[in-house]
């Protein structure tokens, strides 16, 4: 399932296109503010950028840049970002996920909500990315050494 695909065209195309897919995924996560997108779809695209080299290129290439441990670690980090952003307002008198309570000298309530939603979407995107890579590694990937 993984490993070098026999055709040269596929290998070269995948090697060129994969980083752009990953970049496009990150773009979708952040663009979710203004247009269709958001954490879920962006995370899936970013994961495709990592899974495509695993499918088509040689074993060592993708696993050197994104080792098999990336899946669980990214998933855990994303959830920690989400929970931290959610719990922080509780210390300032608001409820869970109430970013408006985080207002201070630098940002008023609307700006705090804006930034809070952005951080939460990035957290969700990282978690979905980690989950998708983890699903691929579990089902079809190289056994961890």
């Amino acid at each position: 399932m993984i490993g070098a695909y026999p055709s040269v065209v596929v290998r070269v195309t995948a090697a060129i296109v994969a980083p752009f897919i990953f970049l496009f995924g990150m773009y979708i996560i952040i663009h979710g503010h203004y247009g269709p997108g958001g954490g879920f779809a962006g995370g899936v695209f970013a994961a495709v950028g990592v899974v495509l080299p695993r499918l088509t290129l040689d074993d060592t290439v993708s696993y050197k840049i994104f080792p098999a441990a990336v899946g669980p670690i990214a998933g855990a980090c994303g959830l920690i970002i989400f929970l931290a952003t959610g719990i922080a307002p509780m210390f300032f008198g608001g409820s869970f996920l109430d970013y408006g309570a985080l207002e201070n000298a630098f940002m008023d309530a609307a700006r705090a909500r804006y930034l809070g939603i952005l951080v939460v979407e990035i957290g969700v995107g990282v978690t979905v990315f980690g989950a998708m890579v983890m699903i691929f590694d579990m089902l079809a990937g190289k056994e961890p050494a």
Partner: protein, 491 residues
């Protein structure tokens, strides 16, 4: 505002993440994290129960957006009561040794404690939710965690988990369709808001269709007869700790959601004779489930499978209680949720203790265990007597309230079914008593068995003490907690 509505959920969710990270450092750390997280969640839910019984329901807005725009968490007596049960059983499973609870030695690198904490977090989310879609999301979180945990039970466990996945997802899909019908008719997803809008639309076929879909979907999750097919396999082929957790809390999530939606959202305008005869159907299917579960349990020779069929029967009691719908019947149903959680998890944990010391699963080979593993088996005796319904143990009271409710309405069929199923339960437990306590050991491994390890005995006896206390203090419990729950559901 009062953060108690969301604290149990946050403790369990953060505990799950910390358990994942701690697992990379030290092999035993996840269990410690799990015990801490469930213990703090238990303290938070007990404080919540005390606050709610004194001051009335708490409503908590997520993100500062007021309902019905925002998502609302409500904590009232029923939710707080069930949260205490769930976190208590969760804490005991976290204390139980990992080796038997999850067949842990066989599998490396499986994150069992994070999965258990996610399961409990999903349940807490279901219990505190005040919004129909939020209930769906957390029901799915909890279900995915259970699919993973049941699959730990070896070859047969994986197949049972797959079947459970198919049925459970269809149930959720039907529930989601019903929520869609409701949203497009009323324009809101908030439960309290919908309860005010729905009575004006009585007789609308869309709403009746939604009622049917939601009841079927939740019935699949709750394993109400005849949608219980996945339950015996899933419970008997999963490891003992997982089976204890599932039998105690998994099906209760579906029962809680059904109670909440039928009584709080839809109300008597729809569930009575004017709308679909949902209550009648629940009562009849509940009775069929009681008979089916009890009769099939007598034929089983494997102890976990017997307990699984017994669970089908006990869920029939809860279904009958919900179906009858009177104050006494609801007291019986809610009390039975508490009692069944305590009794069934005690029985499954005893089965785990037996497997730990002897590796045996068939009842016929348990002969003579009563003399060797005395503390574990006396705990088994108490839990089994409570399941049959011997006063003053806890199990007697819930059956008493259900029979009283049935006689009150001249519903002799229900009373007869409950009494006869108690007789059948007596039959199969007496058979087990005779094998365990009276006969002499027939296997060498039984004759040399040592008593179970301290954590096993400790958790089993914690549950048995709870059974005894709930039985003796039952009038006080009903007056302070369960009675107000039934009143708030009907009124």
């Amino acid at each position: 505002m009062n953060h108690l509505a969301i604290l149990p959920l946050l403790f369990l969710l953060s505990g799950a993440i910390l358990a994942v990270l701690a697992g990379t450092l030290n092999k035993n750390a996840p269990q410690v994290v799990a015990i801490t997280a469930t213990a703090s969640a238990l303290i938070a839910s007990m404080l919540g129960l005390r606050t709610v019984t004194q001051n009335g329901p708490i409503s908590y807005e997520l993100g500062g957006w007021p309902p019905p725009i925002g998502i609302e968490y409500t904590l009232d007596t029923l939710s707080a009561f069930m949260l205490v049960i769930v976190t208590f059983i969760g804490m005991l499973i976290a204390i139980y040794p990992a080796r038997i609870a999850f067949d842990h030695v066989v599998r490396r690198n499986v994150p069992v404690y994070p999965l258990t904490l996610l399961l409990l977090a999903g349940l807490t989310g279901v219990m505190s939710s005040g919004d129909l879609f939020h209930l769906f999301v957390f029901l799915e979180i909890f279900a995915i965690a259970t699919y993973g945990l049941v699959a730990l039970g070896g070859d047969r466990g994986v197949f049972a988990s797959f079947r459970y996945l198919l049925f459970g997802t269809i149930g959720s899909g039907l529930y989601l369709l019903g929520v869609g019908f409701l949203y497009f008719s009323t324009g809101t997803l908030n439960m309290a808001d919908m309860a005010q809008i729905l009575p004006e639309m009585a007789g609308s076929t869309t709403i009746l269709g939604a009622l049917g879909l939601i009841t079927t979907g939740l019935g699949l999750k709750m394993a109400l007869f005849p949608l219980h097919i996945w339950l015996p396999d899933a419970h008997s082929f999963s490891p003992p700790g997982v089976a204890a957790l599932l039998a105690a809390v998994q099906v209760k999530a579906g029962a809680y959601a059904l109670l909440r939606i039928l009584f709080d959202v839809f109300g008597p305008a729809y569930t009575g004779s004017a709308g679909l005869p949902v209550a009648q159907l629940l009562a009849w299917f509940g009775m069929a489930g009681i008979v089916y579960g009890s009769v099939l349990a007598t034929r089983q020779s494997d102890v976990k499978r017997l307990l699984a069929y017994s669970t089908v029967a006990q869920l029939g009691y809860i279904g009958v209680g919900i179906g009858m719908g009177s104050r006494l019947a609801l007291i019986g149903a809610v009390l039975h949720v508490l009692n069944h959680a305590l009794m069934k998890s005690a029985l499954f944990l005893v089965a785990g203790g037996i497997i730990q010391r002897t590796g045996l699963k068939e009842i016929a080979r348990f002969a003579g265990l009563g003399k060797r593993m005395v503390p574990t088996m006396s705990g088994f005796a108490i839990a089994a007597l409570s399941m049959v319904g011997i006063p003053p143990l806890a199990g007697f009271w819930s059956k008493f309230y259900l029979i009283w409710a049935a006689v009150d309405e001249n519903n002799w069929a229900v009373a007869l079914v409950i009494v006869s199923s108690s007789m059948i339960t007596l039959v199969y437990f007496l058979r087990m008593f005779e094998t365990i306590f009276v006969r002499d050991a027939s296997e060498a491994i039984v004759a040399n068995a040592k008593i179970a390890s301290p954590t096993v005995i400790g958790t089993v006896w914690a549950l048995c003490t709870a059974i005894i206390v709930v039985g003796i203090a039952n009038v006080a419990i009903v007056r302070n907690f369960v009675g107000p729950i039934a009143d708030s559901l009907i009124g």
